[in-house]
């Protein structure tokens, strides 16, 4: 349970040893359609290293028990393991009070709904405004529409530049009188990194809080919520080498303390009578029911793994793969291929949303599948952004710690096949 602060073998001498990393991921040994799998869909969900799978197995095989303070040995061990995971998660993102400020949810979507339904429902009404960006994922849009229907506040949108960055020309007017800025730290479609720190300062100056969708950020860049200055941050375990079934909401303690509970049930109460209930303290207040216990232990192992690689090294690796990909694809396909979003690899994450002339993304992805290249077509749960980009869908390739330039070459070759299949 000690922090792993040494660099792992894989990142030993400053160069990132992808081969060693790949060897830790059992699924990468498999083939698809008779070829070794080229997994380029980590923005949807990452693969899991053996260490994560084994940590959960060990939990189930040795200390599985419900938490909430059973007195017997394995119940205490399970509780301790979950709370150790909470603190580990909090420290990984720079939470000032990890033991109380980290709330376990089922996914980032629940975290974002919690902010809307608890903080939002208690603080928003007619005359108020929430500011979103046109980059947002549906998970950071739909909950606000749902709440708006009840509470009648205004929703304002930060528009985009042609290369899918935030257009801040009108930002002062947009933030004027707003109570919340809810924005993504990195777009899951274009890879755009948003200026979180700057916008947070401006939002706070205007009297608005900031809720960060950190789903695509925490897995890929060293994160310090205190340094960023945000008030809430939401992310999912499954995109950062961890299991499905677990999300995280971090929030500033004073805010969480003042918020009403969200889901009601066991574990989130101090007292219940036939006449009403009193909520528990943090973090229990927001964790009704049996939590995803094994999953928190899996996330703990995932964070140990990432920290052993070093988040700076992870980021550096991804920038270099992304740069290689943008160079390779542009050289090979020229005008025929559009890559949405910022053209500078350092200004974006390893997410390439592509449009190949004459080939619909759905068809493109189908052909790529035949070459064992896994990319995702569709609107990526960002239909408003699709409308701004003027497309119905894109084909998205995304990179993570186990991807390398060979994967990029395989992608380029498969794209070539698709182009000739559809445009002979």
């Amino acid at each position: 349970m000690t922090d792993v602060t040494t660099t792992s073998d894989a990142a030993g001498d400053g160069t990132f040893d992808v081969a060693k990393v790949r060897a830790d991921f059992p699924i990468l040994e498999r083939e698809s359609h008779g070829r070794p799998i080229v997994f380029l869909d980590s923005a949807a969900s990452s693969q899991k290293p053996r260490a994560v799978i084994e940590a959960m197995d060990r939990y189930y095989e040795t200390i599985n028990a419900n938490v909430h303070r059973g007195v017997y040995e394995i119940a205490e061990a399970a509780t301790n393991a979950m709370e150790a995971a909470r603190v580990r998660v909090g420290r990984f993102i720079g939470a000032p009070k990890p033991a109380t400020e980290v709330i376990f949810t089922k996914n980032a979507t629940e975290s974002l709904n919690l902010v809307a339904r608890s903080w939002g429902a208690a603080n928003l009404g007619p005359g108020d405004a929430v500011v979103l960006t046109q980059l947002e994922h549906h998970a950071n849009i739909v909950p606000w529409f749902q709440l708006q229907a009840e509470k009648g506040f205004e929703i304002r949108w930060i528009p985009l530049t042609p290369d899918a960055r935030l257009d801040l020309t009108d930002i002062d007017r947009l933030l004027d009188g707003a109570k919340l800025l809810a924005l993504t730290a990195m777009s899951n479609v274009t890879g755009t990194l948003t200026p979180v720190r700057e916008l947070t300062e401006r939002a706070h100056a205007a009297g608005a809080l900031v809720s960060l969708d950190a789903c695509q950020y925490v897995p890929h860049l060293a994160t310090d919520v205190a340094a960023l200055g945000v008030d809430f941050a939401s992310f999912s375990a499954h995109k950062m080498l961890g299991p499905t079934g677990l999300g995280v909401l971090w929030g500033r303690e004073e805010l969480l303390d003042a918020m009403p509970p969200f889901l009601g049930g066991g574990g989130m109460i101090l007292n219940v009578t036939l006449d009403g209930f009193t909520p528990a303290d943090l973090p229990a207040k927001f964790e009704a029911g049996t939590p995803p216990i094994a999953e928190t232990i899996g996330l703990h192992a995932a964070i140990d793994y990432l920290d052993a690689l070093g988040m700076a090294a992870v980021r550096e690796h991804e920038v270099s793969v992304t740069a290689y990909a943008m160079r390779t694809l542009t050289e090979r396909f020229g005008e025929q291929l559009t890559i949405h979003g910022p053209s500078e690899p350092a200004a974006r994450g390893g997410v390439l949303s592509m449009a190949l002339e004459g080939v619909h993304p759905h068809d493109l992805s189908q052909v790529l599948d035949q070459h064992a290249v896994c990319v995702r077509p569709g609107h990526h749960c960002a239909k408003p952004l699709m409308a701004v980009l003027g497309v119905g869908a894109t084909a998205r390739a995304s990179f993570y710690v186990y991807n390398d330039t060979d994967d990029v070459d395989a992608l380029a070759d498969a794209l070539g096949e698709a182009a000739s299949f559809f445009t002979f």
Binding site: H360, H362, Q370, G378, A393
Partner: protein
């Protein structure tokens, strides 16, 4: 293992590259319905003009999508023009029954929510002509929704056109 040639028949690619009956119709007299594939973002707009005898006078297709959804819409538009609404419904049943060869699989995959009831009725024995080319889609279950999107949107339009 099914190959790409099972999916992308020549005639499909032809309809994709040269879609028939693209455009809009004035509403009224035509009705306009929209269909979405919630997963991939495909959209189909159907403009359907039905005369007083219940015959399809004209049809136009809008929207964007993959080769399967677009070619299915294009072939559909060619097939229904001049047919009566009853014939259109029978043709739709026939097409969807071809697409539902793996109905139990579909069901197991949560596709059972298509609630137009067509699957429940016995497959109408209407010849499908060019549409037969889409038969290969059933080997790619993910793409079945692409092939049926236009037809579900058409059924809605038919319902609206005959509602009053």
């Amino acid at each position: 293992m099914p190959g790409l040639e099972d999916l992308y028949r020549e005639i499909i690619l032809d309809h994709y590259r040269n879609p028939r009956n693209r455009g809009e119709l004035e509403t009224p007299p035509a009705v306009r319905t929209e269909g979405f594939n919630p997963l991939c973002g495909d959209e189909i707009v159907v403009y359907l003009d039905v005369d007083d005898d219940g015959t399809v006078r004209d049809i136009r297709i809008g929207g964007t999508g993959c080769s399967i959804s677009q070619s299915s819409a294009s072939m559909m538009s060619a097939a229904v023009k001049g047919k009566t609404i009853d014939e259109v419904r029978a043709l739709t049943r026939s097409f969807k029954s071809m697409m539902s060869v793996h109905e139990s699989t579909l069901d197991a995959e949560g596709e059972g929510s298509e609630s137009d009831g067509a699957d429940a009725e016995p497959a109408a024995d209407v010849p499908l002509g060019d549409l037969e080319a889409l038969r290969g889609v059933v080997k790619f279950p993910v793409r079945i929704k692409c092939a049926t999107l236009a037809w579900n949107t058409l059924l809605q339009a038919a319902d609206e056109a005959t509602a009053d």
